[in-house]
Subunit: 328 residues, 2 copies
């Protein structure tokens, strides 16, 4: 069922997404012979383009000004790409979407500058909408993303984190851009203010669901499916929702609690991490976390109800399902 809906939303939006794609590739062109093809590969590898899709759909129920929407959507996708480039350097990740990351090929200095270049191009696209509110959302979203990433970095190796801290982090690093994309789309579409607010909430909730699923997949899947090693977050000392849920139910088992503590603290590595990943999988924490993600997706769908156009509303609901269903 979900598979069918998924095919529907991409089929319905294919032509418009292709325009976004062309705009992204055009903006990512760079006059440095050695790296231009690397950057193009990176941009083309893409993902499902969920963020541009949300932006387009948020405008679709109103005045569908496709030129401005495509420009903003390309800006959002490039902002996301730039952020991934820096994030992979920060994490020293070797793989992204199953391919070697730029920082396995280029010096870290070159990767920093390429990320900055992509940020600049995304800002140029945001500015090209000529809409001061869109630009303001774009800039504050970038700040939210950095805040989320900095909170993640400076809260690494700490087990004593609250659910609120976790939510702030994943809102910043992921949901803020989904929220901003939906808000920009609604604003460009000229939606009434109440609709802009509901669509922003739609984006935020889809983003929260998406990131929680991401955190579950990090523990559930092997390298094949995700292009990253399983338990990667734990190896970096990043405590995510499934780990928090697992931790909360450990009070009776000092041995398991010690293993969790030592892995998160970064004191042990290798097969011990695999053992912890196995224990979390068996505990039911992944299913509990998926239920939280499903709640967010349901909330997103209720926000989508404000859209009067039925086909657009149905596509928004598909997106919420898609955030839950990917790679599972």
């Amino acid at each position: 069922m979900v598979e069918l809906q998924t095919r529907d939303v991409f089929a319905a939006m294919r032509t418009d997404l292709q325009r976004v794609e062309a705009r992204v590739e055009q903006a990512a062109a760079i006059d440095v012979p050695l790296v231009s093809s690397l950057v193009l590969d990176l941009v083309r590898a893409g993902g499902k383009r969920l963020r541009p899709l949300i932006l387009l759909l948020a405008g679709r129920g109103y005045n569908y000004d496709l030129d401005a929407l495509v420009t903003a959507a390309a800006g959002v996708e490039l902002l996301h790409t730039a952020s991934l480039v820096h994030d992979d350097t920060v994490d020293r990740a070797a793989l992204r979407r199953g391919k070697p990351t730029l920082n396995t090929i280029l010096s870290s200095g070159a990767v920093i500058l390429l990320g900055d270049y992509l940020f600049a191009q995304s800002a140029i696209l945001a500015a090209a909408t000529g809409n001061p509110r869109v630009v303001a959302i774009f800039a504050s979203t970038l700040a939210d993303i950095c805040d989320g990433q900095l909170q993640e970095m400076f809260n690494a190796h700490r087990l004593d984190q609250t659910r609120e801290e976790y939510e702030r982090r994943i809102y910043g690093k992921t949901a803020s851009l989904f929220a901003g994309a939906a808000e920009m789309g609604a604003i460009i579409g000229g939606a009434p203010e109440a609709h802009v607010a509901e669509l922003r909430s739609f984006g935020a909730d889809v983003g929260m669901a998406f990131q929680i699923v991401d955190d579950v997949l990090d523990l559930r899947e092997g390298a094949q499916q995700l292009g990253k090693p399983a338990g990667n977050d734990l190896r970096q000392g990043t405590v995510t929702l499934p780990t928090m849920l697992y931790s909360a139910e450990l009070s009776g088992s000092p041995v398991d609690a010690q293993l969790l503590h030592d892995v998160v603290a970064g004191e042990i590595d290798g097969p011990d991490v695999d053992r912890l990943v196995g224990a979390i999988r068996k505990s039911g924490a992944l299913e509990q976390a998926m239920a939280v993600a499903a709640d967010y997706a349901e909330r997103a769908k209720s926000h989508a109800e404000i859209v009067a156009d039925e086909s657009t509303r149905r596509l928004l609901v598909d997106i919420a399902d898609l955030a839950l269903a990917r790679s599972s």
Copy 2:
């Protein structure tokens, strides 16, 4: 004489610059306990605030809308700071303005994210002007800066560079922000289009002079004055104007040519670099390069003539002198 003029321009603009300062500090505040004081130190260490000064002065001869000018000026200064943070990471520089750089204190990942955070804050300030043209200039300036830095990186260790390639690089990495600052100030001030264009050229020429002087100082001064080791550019394989001028007159001396080649290629280091720096100093290339910088400063002054207000025009001339006279 230059000293007196210098004091004049800072005295005349002190109150307005203090407002920029306060705005910069407010925007740089960050909710990460371990780094907030580091970021504040970095921002406070500042330099002469030439870029905000140029922005304010470019608006001063027209409708001096101080609120918007201060906002944009703070954005320009933070963009510059963010770019320095990433640049020091790229160069692995240990000192900046005589102080340890962030990347000697924090992990390179943290420094990347802090730079991104400062970029985001600068973009928020640009957006807060509410002026789409200002935002567009801001975004394209960031792209120019990245282009200049990437060209520098990917042309390192090459002696066969043209003067045009050098000029493109220093325009991008330095002069573009001076040009953009002047253009934004003139636009916010509501200057006529012909004045906007002249003031942009003023900023660009001041920036070119400033960077050429920087390139000369890198070869002329010791670590004390500049907070960096002398000959730092050569150690990184970066060929600047003085080195190009020196190279052009070397045809008769194969031994000196070999030394230059080997240092630029990164094949030898240490005392050989000091020997090359000494040879460049003795050759007169620094004086020739300073003459080129002086030409740019003169051209800047001629662009400033379009400003009708005499006191503003005089302050702009002071800025052009200041770009030449600093640290000398």
